[in-house]
């Protein structure tokens, strides 16, 4: 039963990765694409991590997976912000020139 839930979570996670990729390809500009990457991929990884944690069941593995997910979420949000910030500044320089 737990294995089944774990696999379902991993499956749901990959769906979010697919949706994030579709957003990356379809969205019109960089900022909208960043929305897709930071949010959808972040949840996708969290779900896959949760599923893997359920499948593994060992305390050490769960702690390691939790660490990975926390840092991935943090770096996702930070990278999204930094890329948007850089793009805005570069765009403003172009507009000033």
């Amino acid at each position: 039963m737990i294995a089944l839930i774990g696999m379902a979570l991993i499956g749901a996670g990959t769906l979010f990765f697919i949706a994030g990729t579709v957003g990356l390809l379809r969205f019109p500009d960089l900022y909208c694409q960043l929305h897709a990457l930071t949010k959808a991929d972040g949840l996708g990884l969290a779900l896959i991590g949760l599923g893997a944690a359920l499948l593994s069941g060992s305390v050490g593995d769960i702690a390691r997976i939790a660490l990975i997910c926390a840092f991935a979420a943090l770096s996702g949000a930070t990278c999204g912000h930094l890329i948007a910030r850089h793009a805005r500044r570069a765009g403003q320089e172009d507009a000033d020139a």
Binding site: A19, A77, G80, R88
Partner: protein
């Protein structure tokens, strides 16, 4: 409620109502500032290495190296953190992050692709440092919002739909972050 002291890196340390530390620190104070990160980093090592005793032969130097990296960064202010409010925030935020991901995924796969993107400015009432950084990062994971710039009190937010009620969404988030750091909500707080 028992209050906790937190470093600017969002880690909490036990203690009661300590005075805010001055910007220029004496070496001893600096050492004391590193005690709490040292404990957290040691716990991370322990978890990774399954608490095996002989692993500290490498874990000790690893923690020292990590602390040295921390000292390269400019010193930051300490914050008081309310553990219960932090837990409540974590739960609320998890739900919001799921909402955000579902929202953007539906927009991406919907044939009409409902987007009405644009930038908006938000004047935050949260003080400089961890609360503001937490706000910027949380905004990026909330539905339809992405922080694109933070300059002083001004936060530039990119919206997937510019008709989003920013005051409701971000205002609520700010109030919750303020609660985590025991700050008076909604009021101007001097940094």
């Amino acid at each position: 409620m028992k209050s906790f002291q937190a470093l600017d890196d969002g880690l909490a340390v036990a203690g009661q109502h300590r005075k805010p530390a001055p910007l220029v620190r004496m070496p001893r104070q600096r050492l004391r500032r590193l005690t709490f990160p040292a404990v957290i980093l040691a716990v991370i090592w322990g978890v990774l290495a399954d608490w095996r005793l002989e692993s500290w032969l490498f874990g000790g130097p690893a923690v020292l190296l990590a602390l040295w990296l921390l000292t390269l960064l400019p010193p930051a202010r300490r914050w008081t953190m309310a553990p219960l409010a932090a837990l409540r925030f974590a739960g609320w935020f998890a739900v919001q992050a799921v909402r955000g991901a579902v929202d953007v995924s539906l927009r991406a796969v919907s044939p009409r692709m409902p987007l009405n993107p644009g930038f908006r400015s938000w004047r935050t009432t949260l003080p400089e440092g961890t609360p503001r950084i937490m706000l910027a990062n949380a905004v990026s994971l909330l539905p339809g919002t992405l922080s694109a710039e933070i300059e002083g009190q001004r936060l530039v937010i990119h919206l997937l739909d510019c008709h989003t009620d920013l005051a409701a969404e971000i205002g609520r988030l700010e109030a919750r972050i303020a609660a985590v750091f025991n700050l008076p909500a909604g009021k101007e707080t001097a940094a």
